[in-house]
């Protein structure tokens, strides 16, 4: 009885949302469940039933797969920290500029470039620094410049720095000029102002930006895939190979386990981000 009553109040007015919830359950729920189930399924020998266990997950955390996972994490970490620092300096340089047009232009360009991932990004860089790119040939730089760890990091920074500018700009604007004046009038040096006031106020937004950039670089696949010939082992490329049948038979389920590893890492990263975002939003008012 109470259960029925509770259900009725719980479901009051939910009718219009049913189609949405149904579609999400089918289009998102089923793939999620199948992914998780597959990651824990061990294929038996032909003709034998499969069983559940942790073998795939264990395999996904051993070589050669562990290497791709670590290399992805490394690349994302470099891009996240590098992009966050550069983006903050750039945003500060732009926001302190006297030209309102420069500020407007940089922020609007950042809006476009932050979304400029994927295939087009790869081709712009290939035309510039690829093996037969204009700069490579023009300066005689030799091939393979773009297709290593640092080359890929440089390409990823092209959308990460603008994203950081967008994330940090509101926080930088939240730094009231009065705070600085108050600090300087009380005898603080510029360095002391930044160490004791500026950086603590910016910290949540900075860390939030690092996390956001990490997530973006970690999940990026299209750019790396379009830069055919890149010799950087990435977990996204490894999963794609498994999916399109470029690996030994029977390793599909390891790919599922690798995907699960990725989701766990992404969730951990987000678990850091959400409370940070709540804290930093205090300064946006």
């Amino acid at each position: 009885m109470t259960e029925r009553k509770a259900r009725r109040t719980w479901g009051k007015g939910w009718g219009p949302a049913v189609p949405l919830l149904l579609v999400v359950a089918i289009a998102f729920g089923i793939p999620a469940v199948m992914l998780a189930a597959g990651a824990f399924t061990e294929k038996g020998a032909p003709g034998e039933p499969s069983s559940y266990g942790f073998a795939n997950l264990a395999a996904s955390l051993r070589e050669p797969y562990l290497g791709t996972l670590l290399s992805s994490v490394q690349l994302s970490a470099v891009v996240a920290v590098g992009g966050a620092l550069t983006g903050t300096f750039l945003a500060h340089a732009v926001l302190t500029s006297k030209s309102a047009m420069l500020r407007e232009a940089v922020l609007s360009v950042s809006g476009v470039l932050a979304n400029f991932g994927g295939v087009p990004l790869a081709f712009i860089w290939i035309a510039t620094l690829g093996n037969s790119g204009v700069v490579t040939v023009g300066l005689g730089l030799g091939s393979g410049l773009l297709y290593n760890f640092w080359g890929l990091a440089m390409v990823y920074l092209y959308f990460s720095i603008p994203l950081m500018v967008l994330v940090i700009a509101p926080a930088l604007e939240g730094l009231r000029p009065q705070w600085r004046e108050a600090a300087l009038n009380s005898g603080a040096t510029t360095w002391q102002f930044w160490r004791l006031v500026g950086i603590p106020v910016l910290a949540p937004a900075l860390l939030g930006g690092v996390v956001l950039l990490f997530g973006g670089a970690f999940a990026a696949y299209a750019t790396a895939a379009a830069m055919v010939g890149a010799s950087v082992p990435l977990v996204t490329l490894q999963i794609a190979d498994a999916l399109t049948g470029n690996v030994l038979v029977g390793f599909e389920n390891v790919a599922l386990a690798l995907s699960l590893d990725m989701i766990v890492i992404a969730l951990l990263v987000m678990a850091v981000y959400l409370p940070l975002q709540r804290r930093s939003s205090r300064w946006l008012r």
Partner: protein
């Protein structure tokens, strides 16, 4: 990466306190200008100039006649149109319900519109393709098998529409949420209902006209997402526009760079239109 980040950053009138003499600032701006402009300019030159022919706009002229361009571009546009319609039709009633007496629904909506941002798209594809494969085995003897096959029709893969609906939810939700915040939904709906309007009339003649700009925003963001999405389409094996760009790059590098530049300009235009529309309202 197919993510689309909202661009609304407030620009205050008063400049921030200047640190130091401004030399550091100039160096930072210069380095940034070189890093961001040089590849763009060089790529643009690459599309209109080569040693053999000199200056020519040939790469842009070839686009329309390139094999596969028309079909892949039309496919992407059709997928975008279907995705936009379905996202709006599913999302708008649910978001109205939150405001009209089901506040408990809000955390649910927040969750399902945040998850697609967190889950890396490639793992989503892995889930989809596993579901399709296992589903084909499990449903082989039932009439649903035919449904599953038609979902994957090469001419119009509805499975991609379903995936894009999920991926577009976060952006559409935030755009619509901003619009709904600005109007008094409860009063509008009550007034319309008391005057005898039916629910379809309320939606089409009261709610939607009031949400025009945020509906357009949601549609634009979804369009940009679908036109640029590579991962899901490529790994499920469909020739959408971005997948085709990669395919054609093997035989015509100049053409693929030209298309990359055009798609950047298109993204620029879409976002400019969006921020214009947003500014006009405020």
């Amino acid at each position: 990466m197919a993510a689309v980040t909202p661009t609304a950053v407030p620009v205050t009138a008063a400049p921030l306190p200047v640190a130091g003499g401004g030399w550091g600032r100039r160096v930072v701006l210069l380095v940034a200008a070189v890093y961001f402009l040089v590849p763009m300019v060089i790529a643009a030159t690459f599309t209109v100039y080569n040693e053999a022919q000199g200056f020519s706009l040939g790469a842009y002229g070839r686009i329309l006649s390139a094999p596969g361009f028309v079909s892949s571009f039309l496919l992407s546009l059709a997928l975008a149109a279907a995705t936009i319609v379905i996202v709006l039709v599913l999302l708008l009633p649910a978001m109205l319900a939150v405001r009209l007496g089901a506040p408990g629904l809000r955390p649910v909506l927040e969750t399902i519109t945040t998850l697609p941002l967190i889950v890396p798209p490639i793992t989503y594809v892995v889930g989809i393709s596993t579901s399709l494969r296992e589903g084909a085995d499990a449903l082989a003897a039932t009439p649903f098998w035919q449904t599953l096959i038609s979902l994957q029709d090469e001419n119009f893969p509805f499975v991609l529409v379903l995936a894009y609906v999920v991926l577009a939810l976060p952006f559409a939700y935030r755009s619509l949420d901003a619009g709904l915040r600005a109007i008094d939904v409860v009063t509008l709906v009550e007034a319309a209902r008391n005057l005898g309007a039916s629910w379809p009339q309320v939606m089409l003649r009261v709610i939607m006209p009031n949400l025009r700009s945020s509906l357009a925003g949601a549609a634009f963001l979804t369009l940009a997402l679908v036109l640029g999405e590579y991962t899901v389409a490529a790994l499920l094996g469909y020739q959408t526009f971005p997948v085709w760009i990669v395919t054609i790059s093997g035989s015509d590098g100049q053409l693929s760079v030209a298309l990359s530049i055009l798609s950047l300009l298109l993204a620029w235009l879409l976002l400019l239109t969006l921020s214009r529309a947003g500014r006009k309202k405020s």
